[in-house]
Amino acid sequence: MKQVFIIILLIIIGYFLANTFVEIPFGGNRIGNVESNETVAGYYLSNTAKKTGVANVITAIVVNYRGLDTLGEVTVLFLATTGLASILYRRKEEEEDTERLNLPSSRIMRSGVRVLFPAIVLLGIYVFIHGHLTPGGGFQGGTIVATGFLLMLISYKGFNTDHNRMVWIESLAGLSFVGIGIWGLLSGNTFLENTTNIGVVNSLISGGLIPIIYIVVGFKVAVELTGILDILLKIKPKK
C-alpha cells in the first residue's frame, strides 16, 4: 500500500517538475530573459580576463567574485571533519587499539601503490597549482591528493599520516585563507580583494592572489579528506 502511495507522490512531483522544465530552453542563448551582457554570466565572461587576469573563468568566480562561498565551503569541510571526529570519537579508556584494520593487501597492490602514490600526489599538486589556467583547482587537486593517501593507507598498515603535522597544515592553510581576506581589509579595500597586480592572462604567475588562495584551498582539502578517511578506516568492525 505504502509503495502505491509513494509512486503516486513521485508521479505528481515528476509532472510538476517536467512542466516547469518544458518552459526552460536547453541550449538556447544565455540565461535570463534579458540580453546576455546584463546578466551576471555575461559580465563574468567579458571581464574576467581583463579584470582578474585569470584564464579559467570558473576559478575566478569560485575564488574571487564569490569568494565568501568558497570560504563557507572550506568551513563546511572543516566542520564535517570535526563533526565526524566527535561522532565516531572513542574516549581513551574505550580505545582498545587504534591501528587500522589489517587488510591483507596483495603484493601487486603494494608494489603498484608504491609506484602510483608519488605520481598521484604530483598530479594533484599540478592540478591545484594550475587552477587558474587549466580546468581543475583547489578542490579537485586536493581530492586527487587525498585519493593518493587513501591508496597508501589501505595497502600499507605501517603507513600512518603524522596526525600532528596534518593538524598544523590544516590550521595554517585555513588561517592563511582567512588571512588573505583580512589582508584585503587591512590594505583598505574589501575582504578577500585581489590587491596584487594581475599579470598577463595565460602566464603561470597571473591572476594575483587567486592562484595562491586556490593552492591554500588545495592543501586544506587534501588534509581534511585524508583526515576523514583516516578516522573512518580506524573503526574496528564488531564481528
Binding site: L71, S86, N189, F191
Partner: protein
C-alpha cells in the same frame, strides 16, 4: 580596520581554525576562545546598530565587486536587531555552558567548542548575507554543526535524532538547490536585491513552483508542521547549551530566511495567507503534542515550535502592526525560551529518563533555578507583568484590526493549552513532595549569572516595553518596503571604508 558585517564571519573562522593548534598549548583554551569571539560579536552588534539607526542599511561588498556581480552582506534594521539578539544570547549560552559538560576529555572538548561557535556563526551568516547561494552555504554550515552536536552524547538516541535531522536537512537543501536553479534560469542573477527587482518578469507558473520549493526547504529549518519531525528529538538529545542555541538562535535564522524569501523576493498575494495557514496548523499540532509530553525538553521543544507558528501567523497577517508584533514575539521568545531551556536542563541534569515526574519537589533544593523557571513559564504564557504579555497582546490587536476573529479565538485557545502544561510542571516543581535522595546538580556561578541576566531582561522588557518597540516599529516599516532595499543595494556601491 573599521568594524563591518564581515567581522561576524571571519573572526569566528580564525578562532575555529586556530583552536586545534592552540589546544596543544593549553588544555583550557578551547573553552575560553569561543567566549572571546562571542563577546566580540556583541561589540560589533553594538557598533553596527548605531550605524543602522542613522543610515537605515549597511551593505558591505566582498572581494571588491559591486552587489550583483559579487556577494554583498546587508544589515537592515530587522536583521541587525536579530543578529544583535543572537550575539547576546550566544554569549550568555557560552557563559552558561562554560563548565556544564559531564566528564569530557580534550578531543571532545575541542570539537564541541568549535561546533557550537560555528553554529552561531552560521546562523548569523544566514541573516546577514545578501546572496541566495551564500544563504544555502551558511544553511549547510548550520545543518552539519547541528547534526554533529545533536549526536554529541554517547547515548543511543543521539545518533538516531542526528540521522533523522540530517536526512530531512539533506532533502531540504536539495529542494533549496532546485529552487535556486530554476530561479537562476528565469532571472539570471543570484543577488537577492536583483532577484526581487526582476521577479516581475518570471511567469506565475514557475514563480509558484520556486516559492513552494523554497517554503519546503526553509520550512524544515523554521520547523513548519509537516517538516519538523526532527525538531523534538534533536532538542531533547542535544546537550543543554546546544538545545538552548537551537531554540534561541537556529530557529530564528530559519524563520528569518523564510520571511525574507516571502517578503523581499516574492510578491505573490497567496504567500501571506499560506503563512497564516501553515502557522496555524503548526501551532495547534505542536501545542497539542506538547500537552502529552513527559520529557521536559521535548515539551519545551514543542512549545517553541508552537511559538514559531504564532510568529509565522503574525508575519502572515502582513500589516505593519502585525510584522512589528511578530518581531517583538521573536525577541521575547528568544529570551524566555533560552531561560527555560537553561533552567530546564539543570533541573533535569541527573534524572535518567528526563521525565517531568522526576521534578517532584526539586524547588526546595534548587530554589534559585526553580524561581527562574517559573518566571520563564509565566512569561511565555503571556501573564501581564512579563514581556510575553505584550507580544501576544500586539499580535491579537493586529489580528483584530484585520477582523480575523477565527485567529483570535485559536490563539487564545492555544494560550490556554500553554497555561495548562506549563503550570502542571511548575506545580510539580513546588507542591509535589519529591524523593529526597535524588542528588541535584548545583550550577556554578557563571551559569547562575547568565540565567539571572535573562530573568532580569524579561522583567525589564515587561515593565518598559517601549524601550524596544520604537526601534521595532521602524524596523517593521523598512522590512515591508521592498523598493528602498533594492534601490539601496543595487545603485549605491557604498562599502564601508
Amino acid at each position: 580596520m573599521v568594524i563591518s558585517p564581515i567581522h561576524y564571519i571571519f573572526v569566528p573562522l580564525v578562532a575555529a581554525f586556530a583552536i586545534p593548534l592552540l589546544s596543544k598549548l593549553n588544555k583550557e583554551l578551547p573553552r575560553i576562545i569561543p567566549g572571546i569571539v562571542l563577546f566580540y560579536n556583541i561589540i560589533i552588534s553594538f557598533v553596527l546598530m548605531q550605524e543602522v539607526n542613522e543610515v537605515g542599511y549597511i551593505s558591505e561588498v566582498i572581494a571588491g565587486w559591486r552587489a550583483p556581480i559579487g556577494i554583498n552582506l546587508i544589515i537592515t534594521p530587522f536583521s541587525g536587531f536579530l543578529v544583535s539578539l543572537i550575539s547576546v544570547l550566544g554569549f550568555l549560552i557560552w557563559l552558561y555552558g562554560f563548565r556544564f559538560k559531564k566528564v569530557i576529555d580534550d578531543g571532545e572538548l575541542r570539537s564541541y567548542n568549535i561546533l557550537q561557535m560555528m553554529m552561531i556563526t552560521g546562523a548569523i551568516g544566514i541573516i546577514i548575507t545578501g546572496d541566495i547561494f551564500n544563504l544555502f552555504v551558511f544553511l549547510e554550515i548550520v545543518a552539519i554543526t547541528a547534526v554533529s552536536l545533536t549526536s554529541f552524547y554517547r547515548g543511543r538516541d543521539g545518533a538516531e535524532a542526528g540521522f533523522k535531522y540530517l536526512l530531512i536537512g539533506g532533502f531540504a537543501s536539495a529542494m533549496i538547490l532546485l529552487a535556486i536553479l530554476i530561479l537562476y534560469t528565469q532571472v539570471g542573477t543570484l543577488n537577492m536585491a536583483e532577484i526581487a527587482e526582476r521577479m516581475h518578469t518570471v511567469p506565475t507558473g514557475i514563480k509558484s513552483t520556486i516559492l513552494i520549493l523554497f517554503i519546503v526547504g526553509f520550512g524544515i529549518e523554521a520547523e513548519l508542521f509537516p517538516l519538523n519531525g526532527w525538531a523534538p528529538d534533536a532538542y531533547s538529545q542535544a546537550p543543554g547549551p546546544t538545545s538552548t542555541a537551537f531554540a534561541g538562535i537556529v530557529v530564528k535564522a530559519g524563520v528569518y530566511g523564510l520571511i525574507r524569501i516571502i517578503f523581499t523576493l516574492f510578491d505573490i498575494e497567496g504567500a501571506y495567507d499560506f503563512l497564516i495557514i501553515a502557522g496555524l496548523i503548526t501551532m495547534i499540532i505542536a501545542e497539542a503534542a506538547a500537552l502529552k509530553q513527559t520529557n521536559l525538553k521535548r515539551m519545551l521543544a514543542y512549545s517553541s515550535i508552537g511559538q514559531m507558528g504564532l510568529a509565522l501567523i503574525a508575519f502572515g497577517i502582513g500589516t505593519k502592526e502585525a510584522v512589528f508584533a511578530a518581531m517583538f514575539l521573536l525577541l521575547n521568545h528568544a529570551i524566555i525560551k533560552s531561560l527555560l531551556f537553561m533552567t530546564g536542563s539543570i533541573l533535569m541534569y541527573n534524572s535518567k529518563e528526563k521525565t517531568i515526574s522526576s521534578l517532584h519537589g526539586i524547588a526546595k533544593r534548587l530554589p534559585f533555578i526553580s524561581i527562574l523557571f517559573a518566571i520563564g513559564a509565566f512569561a511565555i504564557v503571556g501573564l501581564p507583568p512579563f514581556s510575553g504579555f505584550w507580544s501576544k497582546l500586539y499580535i491579537l490587536s493586529a489580528a483584530a484590526d484585520k477582523e480575523m476573529i477565527f485567529l483570535i479565538v485559536t490563539i487564545l485557545a492555544v494560550s490556554v493549552i500553554e497555561i495548562i502544561y506549563y503550570f502542571r510542571v511548575v506545580s510539580k516543581l513546588y507542591f509535589a513532595e519529591g524523593t529526597t535522595n535524588v542528588e541535584v546538580y548545583k550550577p556554578k556561578i557563571n551559569a547562575k549569572i547568565s540565567m539571572l541576566i535573562l530573568g532580569i531582561a524579561i522583567f525589564v522588557i515587561g515593565f518598559y516595553p517601549d524601550l524596544v518597540t520604537g526601534y521595532l516599529h521602524n524596523a517593521a516599516d523598512i522590512l515591508l518596503d521592498k523598493a528602498s532595499y533594492i534601490q539601496y543595494v543595487l545603485n549605491t556601491d557604498s562599502t564601508i571604508q
